[in-house]
Amino acid sequence: VTKSYEEIPLTPISDTPSTVNITGLWRVMMPVVDKGKCKKCTICWKFCPDVAIKLVNGVPEVDYQYCKGCGICAAECPSKCIVMVKEGEQ
């Protein structure tokens, strides 16, 4: 139900950060990392436009809650250890 203009603040205020929105649900293709082939160059981590790659001992760990499957990490990976797989077929 839309609140009356008299009951709302001057500008919309949210008490939660936008990270509550699990945007990984938008994904069609998902990156899968072959950790054994990884050379720890961290290029994928630098290029990820949505900060959805974390480094664990220098090796990428994709945060699938937010990864939208753009494929930039796979395209940039010089050792070809990231491949894009259709969602649900991995």
Binding site: K3, Y5, L10, T11, I13, S14, D15, S18
Partner: protein, 395 residues
């Protein structure tokens, strides 16, 4: 204390007296000496403020928005291309309901490249939700900055304001200016303390996404705030007069309009020249007056209507042009007058673009023209004044 200073220094002193806490600005001709002076005030410790040098005007406004959201009183200044670069974030400042005060040294837009006065830059920002004050004197610049903070920070308004001074004619021309005592300004303008601000340890999003079922209510509130600003401007100016002994004419300054038959409506520094012309024509028995648009947003519709209903003719002099339409002040004035029972003849004069002088002679000819057509009825609605190649001679 009475001092001799430029419009730009009047802006800087205004921001200092208002105790701006964060100043973020990028230099541009002819605004530069405003922020130079403020940087000096901050470096000598005369003004306790955080001065943020930024890489663009867009960033200057973004920094002010962030600081104001955190509860600081902010100030910035710009001109022409700097102002238009800010356009996106000007909308953010008003939508986020942040009472930022900014001086715009009004300057023509390029090309042709120009650093001189006209109002195109300011007029182009009329729909951003900012209050807009066109000033006529350096004293008015200083006073209006102080008044604007008080108007804008009041609970019913919470919108930003643009104080407009004309490039070079005001920004770089010295006039005597009364600089009020700090204690007096402090008694008039309390410290800024908004109900809602960023608080450390409390994660919140400001200006977050709303769906179509929630959007209009926020816009409706901003509309009400602009209406409230109209009354608040009048009240704050009366308080200002009580404390400082000066006033500048509310939203629409009326000069010798009481028994006038024809009136010139304009804004900015040319109004001072026009007052002299009115005096000269009055001495010759002509019943003419001047109405100066001091607040363009909110627009003084009621004031224009009550003035217009007694007049035979209205000349509106715009120092800018809205391509494909007419001068923006003309279309606004005309829209106001439409609901009058008895409507005067109206004509728009476009003059003084890119810093071209609007001389007393030109203003006399505009008065002459409007008095003739007020008797005969309107002809060309919009006339460009003093353009080489056109048949009519204005000088």
């Amino acid at each position: 204390m009475r001092m001799v200073m430029t419009g730009n220094y009047a802006s800087a002193y205004g921001a200092k007296l208002a105790r701006a806490e964060v100043i973020a600005a990028y230099p541009i001709t002819p605004q530069t000496s405003i922020v130079e002076k403020l940087a000096e005030f901050v470096s000598t410790g005369e003004l306790k403020a955080k001065f943020i040098p930024v890489e663009s005007e867009h960033s200057a406004m973004a920094a002010c928005i962030a600081a104001q959201t955190a509860g600081a009183r902010t100030y910035t200044a710009t001109s022409s291309h700097g102002l238009t670069l800010m356009h996106e974030v000007l909308m953010w400042a008003s939508g986020a309901r942040l009472p930022i005060v900014m001086t715009n040294v009004s300057r023509a837009m390029a090309p042709p490249w120009s650093v001189w006065v006209d109002h195109m830059d300011s007029i182009a920002q009329r729909d951003t939700g900012w209050l807009q004050f066109f000033c006529q004197s350096n004293q008015e610049v200083l006073d209006t900055i102080i008044m604007a903070y008080k108007v804008c920070e009041s609970a019913g308004v919470m919108l930003p304001a643009m104080i407009i001074e004309d490039a070079f004619i005001m920004s770089h021309t010295s006039e005597p200016v009364d600089v009020p005592d700090q204690e007096l300004v402090d008694s008039f303008l309390p410290a800024y303390s908004p109900d809602l601000k960023i608080e450390v340890g409390k994660a919140r999003g400001f200006g977050s996404l709303v769906k179509p079922d929630q959007y209009m209510e926020f816009r409706y509130k901003a509309m009400l705030a602009m209406k409230e600003a109209h009354d608040r401007i009048l009240r704050v100016e009366q308080e200002f007069k009580h404390v400082f002994g000066r006033e500048h004419g509310g939203l629409l300054e009326r000069y010798r309009c009481e028994d006038a038959e024809t009136v010139l409506v304009t804004a900015g520094s040319v109004a001072a020249t026009a007052k002299d012309v009115v005096d000269a024509l009055r001495a010759n028995g002509q019943r003419v007056g001047l109405a100066r648009i001091r607040a363009f947003r909110p627009f003084p519709h009621d004031e224009i209507r009550s003035l217009a209903s007694k007049l035979e003719g209205i000349a509106v002099l715009d120092r800018s042009y809205t391509f494909g339409a007419a001068g923006a002040m003309f279309t606004e004035v005309k829209a106001s007058v439409y609901s009058c029972q008895r409507r005067p003849v109206m004509k728009n004069y476009i003059a003084g673009l890119g810093g071209r002088d609007i001389t007393p002679k030109i203003l006399e000819r505009i008065f002459e023209d409007i008095q003739v057509i007020a008797k005969r009825g309107a002809e060309d609605e919009v006339e460009w004044v003093d353009v080489a190649g056109l048949p009519r001679r204005w000088r």
